[in-house]
Amino acid sequence: MSDLDKFRAEVRTWLDENCPEEMRDGDITPENQCWGGRQWEFQSEAQKIWFERALAQGYTVPTWPKEYGGAGLSAEEAKILDEERQAINARKPLSNFGISMLGPALLAYGTHEQKAQHLTAIARGEIRWCQGYSEPGAGSDLASLKAKCEDKGDHWLINGQKIWTSNADISDWIFCLVRTDFEAPKHQGITFILIDMASEGISVKPIVLISGHSPFCETFFDDVKVPKSYGDNNPSVVGEINRGWDVAKNLLVHERGMLGTMSPLRGTTGPESLGKFAAEKIGLDATGRLDDPALRQRIAQAELDNWAYDLTVARMTDEANAGNGLGAKSSMLKYVASELTKCGTELRMDIEGTTAATIGEDGIEYGSLANNWLYNRAYSILGGTTEVQFNIISKRVLDLPSQ
């Protein structure tokens, strides 16, 4: 048995012995996932047990070094853990922006002390992070951001506004892009900074979405004082001052990577396939085909595309591990994943017809199909719109000329 085979066997046993039955209910959704943070309350005893056992093993952040709360797994080992977890339909024990976005950026750019403080708190589910990038005037053209950050000797002074900050109202800290140099070319005056949301001068205002719910906010900074440092060799700024764009870009690749590695149709109809689900709802014709040929064709197309997408994630991961890197191809995954995510709930809305379009007297229930269908419109907007991904692919993968 090779070392990896041995590892697979160990992981399988560990999962089998440690993952509670209730946590094996298919992939996580935003409603049932474990986010962590100061305000976090476990939704069930099983969720708590699962989190604690995974934490003890370093499996909340499997690839991070052991000294920062991870398990120090190699990419191959992490892939095996993921495969085995999915094989028993287990939820991830913890997932949030700290793990998927800030963590990788800190691993690449942070000092040891920054990692020791922030990575460890993320791994332990103690601090929940939000992302302060977008501004009213800086969406796709993120580098034109204007939130002002002034050097006041022992601290930074921040004034400005962020928008679309997911979960700002329930997050503990924010990683922010701010402008430290207004004279320099737009990409060269940006700094990446870590801020406690409890700081004086920060206020948040939830924004209601078309679903009637409000998972994101406007975030205002009025004379917010941010310490230059949180301890020895532990500055509030990540990377160099005015070089925050490098950190941001690195992080966006991870964000796209993350958005691009969810199996997009899975979960739309629970463990059952969309087609099977449709067959139960709509019925079959005399030849055994779904009794709605046009819908049948759309479902088959989505399922085949979803499969080809999953294979592409696998292939690109293998290529990246073999040393060819993923690079701008992550934009391809982001594009396809967001289209399929939208498509999955669109199809389910069509399968269920007017039933799905009927909402209660209290409006659209959070976590309901209608809510997800409406929320999913955002997938091709957040993390860089589809059009922006196409621009990136044109330039960085295809090397097409610019105007």
Binding site: G275, A308, R315, S394
Partner: protein
């Protein structure tokens, strides 16, 4: 099992690129098309391919093959697709070799596999009886007579049918047209006097033939696989064919796309490179993404054939569905983005458009395979 080529397969790919660039670039295909040799391909080229070990690419080494499996066959087919190489590779080395190696008796293997590997015997698979692929609609009859059967019926669109030395014919030994049970595969000498073969020139300038059989006597020894249970074997052969044909189409799609992006970087209108127009950039980016999805599906189907042949049917279905769509989109966009020269005969992109159309028809188009996927998934 990682979804990438191993070192050996990469070396095979490099060798194929080098060989085809020298011996069989698109200009060689044009020569065949314009000179219309009776064979429809270049015998000398085929001999050289056999010497390279390509004719027996999936054949085990014990039978004189090179034992590269379906991934190896796909690697070659992809390069042939890039160069539009016309040869008996697909019918003989993929369909014929799969049929014999997977379903033949020891005697049939001994008689045929080495001859396939040596490039000496050419095969063709006769399945369809009408203009659309319907492998479960077999009316071609095999009437029991004495110790054997008498074959009568017609087959259409038999790739390489007019040059083949041996034919594999799907015939009905029992049941009704439309039943999957009652189909039997026969391996027969293509030169038998009871067989009439008519070359049917196709829009892609590749070889195909209509075949008529009248009263051909065969024996139980000529059965390939099981009596009445030939459909499972047919499915297996078709799956292998679909995967390798998908690899060929994938090669064609990638090639026209490369040619097109080069053109976008070169051609100027309105004082700038046309590749700088976002209207074209976004379509190119979308197509590039579809091509990546197609490549994954194709490689997976080839790997599945190597690892678990009998259960590879659905990944081969995915591969053929996806390549059918993507390769057509790639060739259509190639013509469109080239403007006027895209529709000229002198320019190569039109040749790819034609080849991809015919390859997409062969063994089921995207619609056929999504229907198949849906049925297999219970809806």
């Amino acid at each position: 099992m990682p979804l990438i080529l191993n070192e050996e397969q990469e070396m095979l790919q490099d060798a194929a690129k080098g060989f085809l660039a020298e011996k069989a670039p698109v200009s060689a295909f044009r020569t065949v098309r314009d000179n219309k040799p009776a064979d429809g391909f270049c015998r000398q080229l085929w001999t050289e391919m056999a010497q390279m070990g390509w004719a027996g690419i999936i054949v085990d080494e014990t039978h004189g093959g090179s034992g590269f499996g379906y991934v190896g066959a796909g690697v070659l087919a992809e390069e042939m697709g890039r160069n539009l190489t016309a040869s008996p590779f697909f019918s003989t080395s993929v369909l014929g070799a799969t049929a014999i190696q997977k379903y033949g008796t020891e005697k049939q293997k001994d008689e045929n596999l080495a001859a396939i590997s040596g490039g000496e015997t050419l095969f063709a698979l006769a399945v369809d009886e009408g203009p659309r692929h319907k492998p479960d609609h077999i009316a071609f009859s095999a009437e029991p007579a004495g110790n054997g059967f008498i074959l009568s019926g017609t087959k259409t669109f038999v790739a390489d049918g007019h040059v083949a030395d041996k034919l594999i014919i799907a015939a009905r030994t029992s049941g009704d047209e439309g039943d999957t049970a009652g189909i039997t595969l026969f391996l027969v000498d293509a030169n038998a006097p009871e067989i009439t073969r008519v070359h049917t020139p196709m829009v892609d300038s590749r070889n195909a033939a209509d075949i008529a059989v009248e009263g051909l006597e065969v024996t139980g020894d000529d059965i390939l696989g099981e009596l009445d249970g030939g459909y499972a074997a047919l499915e297996g052969i078709l799956s292998a064919g679909r995967a390798v044909l998908s690899a060929e189409m994938s090669g064609s799609a990638q090639q026209v796309f490369d040619v097109t992006t080069d053109y976008l970087k070169e051609r100027e209108q309105f004082g700038q490179k046309i590749g700088s127009f976002q209207g074209l950039q976004h379509r190119a980016a979308q197509l590039a993404t579809e091509i990546e999805m197609m490549k994954s599906a194709v490689l997976k189907s080839l790997k599945d054939l190597d690892q678990d042949f009998d259960n590879a049917g659905m990944t081969c279905c995915l591969a053929k569905a996806k390549t059918g769509q993507v390769a057509q989109l790639a060739t259509k966009e190639a013509i469109q983005m080239h403007g006027g020269i895209g529709v000229t005969d002198e320019y190569d992109v039109g040749l790819y458009f034609k080849r991809v159309h015919v390859a997409q028809q062969m063994f089921g188009d995207a619609g056929f395979h999504s229907d198949r996927w849906a049925r297999n998934s219970g809806y």
